[in-house]
């Protein structure tokens, strides 16, 4: 794999992609493709649909790279937001979802999974932070983000007023931000090759 761009920041790669530099898109995919696919698979529970969502999201990165504004947020946030939005759009179009129970699909097993150390560390860090939240807040975040349920769907299915769901999401996300925000553990990409 050609990693000659490995020393560049994500934001610099997006700027290069905006100038039609294809190797920059390849490098962004090498950094975030696996996380993107894991996320899409978690939301969609279907490898084919997950591939579609990741493909559409990275092509959106390619097409709209010139509109990315680094002063407004990280490139990784932007990319993963594009992936998540597409996965959620797709899962909401799935008919079967309407009859699904609220149970989240069990997380795919870690066993036999070849995962690099950095990804494993990030995963453990986010999962630990989630475990520190009160159950109701964690449930709201997980059902919304990994399950793709809208706030109204959650209100209906959990039998809670919409205001309660909104405040669980807000408080949960703010608290998660604090949990994740310890100095020195900021999520950033570093070369692992």
């Amino acid at each position: 794999m050609n990693r000659q761009l490995a020393h560049l920041s994500d934001e610099a790669l997006v700027a290069l992609a905006a100038r039609s530099e294809q190797t920059a898109l390849a490098e962004l995919y090498d950094r975030y493709g696996r996380t993107a696919y894991g996320l899409a698979l978690r939301v969609l529970r279907d490898p084919v649909l997950a591939e579609d969502a990741v493909q559409e999201a990275f092509l959106a990165v390619w097409r709209t790279a010139s509109r990315f504004m680094p002063e407004k947020g990280r490139a990784s946030t932007w990319i993963l937001t594009l992936v998540h939005r597409r996965a959620v759009d797709a899962v909401r179009h799935e008919q079967r979802r309407r009859t699904d129970s609220l149970e989240l699909a069990a997380e795919p097993s870690v066993e036999g999974l070849e995962e690099d150390a950095w990804l494993r560390l990030q995963r453990e860090r986010v999962q630990t932070a989630l475990r520190h939240l009160p159950d109701a807040q964690r449930e709201a975040l997980e059902l919304a983000y990994y399950g793709g349920f809208s706030q109204s769907e959650l209100s209906e299915r959990l039998g809670q007023p919409l205001g309660t769901i909104k405040s669980r999401m807000f408080t949960g996300l703010s608290r998660l931000r604090e949990e994740l925000g310890e100095p020195g553990t900021e999520i950033s990409w570093t070369s692992t090759t």
Partner: protein, 203 residues
């Protein structure tokens, strides 16, 4: 509706489409929400790292890069800023036209016409045409999609002018030609009546 308490739900993509649109409209006018969304959006995206990520099939990388390359071959990057800049130059030229008509006429005759085609993954396409004069009264520009070995299909009408963008009707197959002709107002019923003014082959 109080939009401020929708920021977290928006960051989690947990709004219905109409709610999300309303929130986005609000966002353009509310700096407080923009700042809050920047923070909560980053935290929401961190959740992406919280799930086990099996490796995607290797073909996915190849498919994405291939599609990206195919799209960009025929595409002049649609840089917003450049568009604005060019629009202003043209407005300035039009103003100057009143004063020094001759100079502007010369520069217009030097102006090159161009057609670029951006094809999406579902083969729908948008064309960008520049350098065409506005269609005379009673006439219109018409875009055509000509699949390889087939007859032209009408793909939309536009008025011309310095810069035009048009989303084409129908899809553009591989190796099709996209062409532009000048036709009678309302468009040509039975295919183009002239040789294309501009054309491009789509890969």
């Amino acid at each position: 509706m109080d939009f401020h308490d929708l920021t977290a739900a928006y960051a989690l993509d947990a709004l219905a489409p109409d709610e999300a649109e309303a929130y986005e409209r609000h966002l353009s006018q509310c700096e407080e929400c923009r700042n809050e969304l920047a923070e909560l959006g980053e935290t929401a995206a961190a959740l992406a790292f919280g799930t086990v990520a099996p490796a995607p099939p290797p073909r996915l990388r190849a498919v994405i890069l291939e599609q990206a390359a195919a799209e960009r071959t025929n595409v002049v990057p649609f840089l917003q800023r450049r568009w604005v800049a060019r629009g202003m130059a043209i407005a300035a030229a039009a103003a100057a036209c009143i004063v020094v008509g001759l100079a502007v006429a010369l520069s217009q005759s030097n102006h090159t016409k161009s057609l670029s085609v951006a094809v999406g993954p579902n083969r729908t396409a948008t064309i960008q045409v520049s350098g065409l004069s506005t269609a005379p009264h009673g006439k219109t520009y018409e875009a055509w999609i000509i699949p390889a070995g087939s007859t032209p299909r009408p793909a939309g009408l536009f008025a011309g002018g310095a810069n035009s963008m048009l989303h084409l009707d129908g899809t553009v197959p591989k190796n099709a030609v996209v062409a532009v002709t000048l036709e009678r107002a309302g468009g040509a019923k039975n295919g183009p009546t002239m040789a294309p003014i501009l054309s491009a082959t789509v890969s």
